[in-house]
């Protein structure tokens, strides 16, 4: 038992923080988020609901209000062009490779004749695993694969520079802290990293402290510090991406399909190659969703599952609907939006409605065999 656990932990560490197959990384993040959510169900019922409600309100404030800490962080890092020290590159790498595989699918969907684009995407996917030397003046973990580095393998360096310049402004995702490579001579080598606000997330982390695997827990704390969601999209092409992004929302009780796609700005002044620009547009268009959001969705659904199956189903659908609504709002407003509030509001609402109305109703009907409603 100890042996198995140890191996599990080591492989998880390796696959998340170092090289590893993409599916393994995804699997590990999923399992970790599920365990995190599961351990949070140890809270009392009303504590959980109130916590979720307050988190939703906090997310709303922190992202949208002008004095919200996350917005201030974005603004300051954008203005000063200073790299924010980050601890979460590995998550970024995961996100990025997820984005690559998703983009392959994406390009197949929305670009009919894209054999060339597909091959270039594949080559970029391969190159995304390569590591490039970090900037000298910043201490960072060794291997960081981010979208910017990936662009080095593209055809033209000018495209790289301009895409770096344009996309770095909008690089505001919770889980994606993308250190830019100064060798590319990008005007803005920025790096965004959002430290979570200590109160809520550390509460979440400490309540999950029954884990024996403390090392993984600390990683999970780091990952959970990305609680705030950023959904950004800037271009019209990303609306198509947004519409098609919701591909895999399968099992919602452990629903941590981490999808993150980078959205790109279409301010490219000196693009040389039209086709390359379209590819980059496709590749980088998309939305980013923080891992912590999925953890809280799972907490909500786990708490609903503790009551009855019907509430589970209702809350699953509510959360998914909230997520798609947020994606649409993102396509409309085109700026950073919190992903938590709408889904959690729907989820809480549906939970209580289902609990009071649906469960007794179905219970009374099914006894008669009247399954059709």
């Amino acid at each position: 038992m100890v042996f198995a656990l140890w191996n599990f932990a080591v492989v998880g560490l390796v696959s998340i923080f170092w090289k590893g197959p993409l599916w393994l990384q995804q699997g590990y993040l999923t399992v970790m988020s599920s365990l995190m959510a599961f351990s949070l169900t140890g809270l009392e019922e009303w504590t959980t609901w109130i916590l979720l409600g307050l988190l939703a309100v906090w997310d709303l404030i922190a992202v949208l209000c002008p004095f919200g800490p996350l917005r201030l962080l974005i603004e300051s890092s954008r203005k000063q062009q200073r790299e924010v020290p980050a601890l979460l590159y590995s998550v970024n790498a995961v996100w990025f490779m997820l984005a690559a595989s998703d983009h392959v699918r994406l390009s197949k969907n929305i670009i009919p004749s894209s054999s060339m684009k597909r091959t270039s995407l594949e080559e970029e996917e391969k190159s995304s695993l390569s590591t490039t030397p970090p900037p000298t003046h910043i201490e960072q973990p060794r291997e960081i694969t981010n979208g910017r580095k990936r662009t080095v393998t593209l055809t033209s360096i000018t495209d790289t520079i301009h895409s770096l310049a344009s996309s770095s402004e909008y690089e505001a995702s919770t889980s994606s802290t993308a250190p830019l490579q100064p060798n590319a001579a990008a005007p803005g080598t920025r790096q965004h990293r959002y430290h979570t606000q200590p109160s809520s997330s550390t509460l979440a982390s400490t309540t999950g402290g029954e884990h024996n695997r403390n090392d993984l827990l600390s990683q999970q704390q780091q990952i959970d510090t990305n609680r705030f969601t950023r959904l950004r999209t800037e271009s019209v092409s990303s609306t198509t991406v947004a519409a098609q992004s919701n591909t895999t929302e399968g099992d919602a009780s452990s629903s941590q399909e981490q999808r993150r796609r980078r959205s790109n700005d279409t301010q490219r002044n000196n693009e040389n190659d039209e086709e390359v620009r379209d590819e980059e547009d496709v590749e980088r268009s998309g939305l980013k969703l923080g891992l912590g959001d999925f953890v809280f969705y799972s907490v909500l659904i786990a708490r609903a599952a503790l009551y009855d199956w019907i509430t589970t189903v209702c809350c699953t659908i509510a959360v998914l609907t909230g997520l798609t609504t947020t994606i649409f709002l993102l396509a409309i407003y085109k700026k950073a939006l919190p992903a938590l509030p709408i889904s959690i509001a729907f989820g809480i609402l549906f939970y209580f409605v289902a609990k009071t109305v649906l469960v007794p109703y179905i219970g009374a009907l099914c006894v008669f065999g009247m399954v059709g409603l």
Partner: protein
């Protein structure tokens, strides 16, 4: 024994749903999105691959109906399904040789198809609400919905022998009529669409 019942009823009840999902809806992410949030037709029309195809409405209504079917079947049948893992069985009062689980599973699968078809008919009905055919469609949907639901009452009645058979036949009948309505309207739409193209 009870586990067999569980899986059997699970697959019977959710067979159409799962198969339609994997065959048709899973292949297009837009459809998955629409399935979950059913009121996003306008937005999806903007981004769909073929915005001016007249079949868009049919596809949307199909997927929307599918989403609704998924929701209702999950909500209505899942409690019974979970009960079937337990050690006991409940016999259907009107067909004493069959368990309630199984009859309800069959009813659920029929209802999932019915919901899809009802949604398609309702879409056409509401989009042609001024014309008599639109109003007729809407009335058909509402009426047959009530009819199908009352038919399932036969499942549980003890006075009518073989009531469950009657309810299944009624549901299949309503399903076939509604499918014919949908096919008729699809065909006429197809003819309208392809007529300008034909010489």
């Amino acid at each position: 024994m009870s586990l067999y019942t569980f899986f059997g009823c699970l697959l019977v009840a959710y067979g159409p749903i799962l198969s339609i999902f994997f065959l048709y809806i899973g292949q297009n992410a837009q459809h998955v999105l629409l399935m979950v949030s059913r009121r996003s037709e306008a937005g999806l029309n903007i981004v769909s691959a073929n915005p001016h195809s007249p079949f868009n409405q049919s596809i949307f209504s199909f997927v929307t109906g599918y989403g609704y079917a998924l929701t209702t079947t999950l909500v209505s049948y899942i409690s019974l399904l979970v009960e079937s893992i337990g050690p006991g069985v409940i016999m259907c009062p009107s067909c004493p040789q069959a368990t309630t689980f199984f009859i309800s599973a069959v009813t659920t699968s029929l209802f999932s198809l019915l919901h899809i078809v009802w949604m398609m008919v309702a879409f056409e009905g509401f989009s042609n609400i001024r014309k008599p055919s639109g109003i007729a469609r809407v009335i058909w949907v509402i009426g047959s919905h009530f009819g199908a639901s009352y038919a399932t009452l036969l499942n549980g009645s003890e006075t009518i022998q073989y009531g469950c058979v009657y309810s299944i036949i009624t549901c299949i009948g309503i399903l076939s009529i509604s499918t014919a309505l949908v096919a008729y309207s699809l065909k006429s739409r197809y003819q309208l669409h392809s007529h300008p193209h034909s010489s």
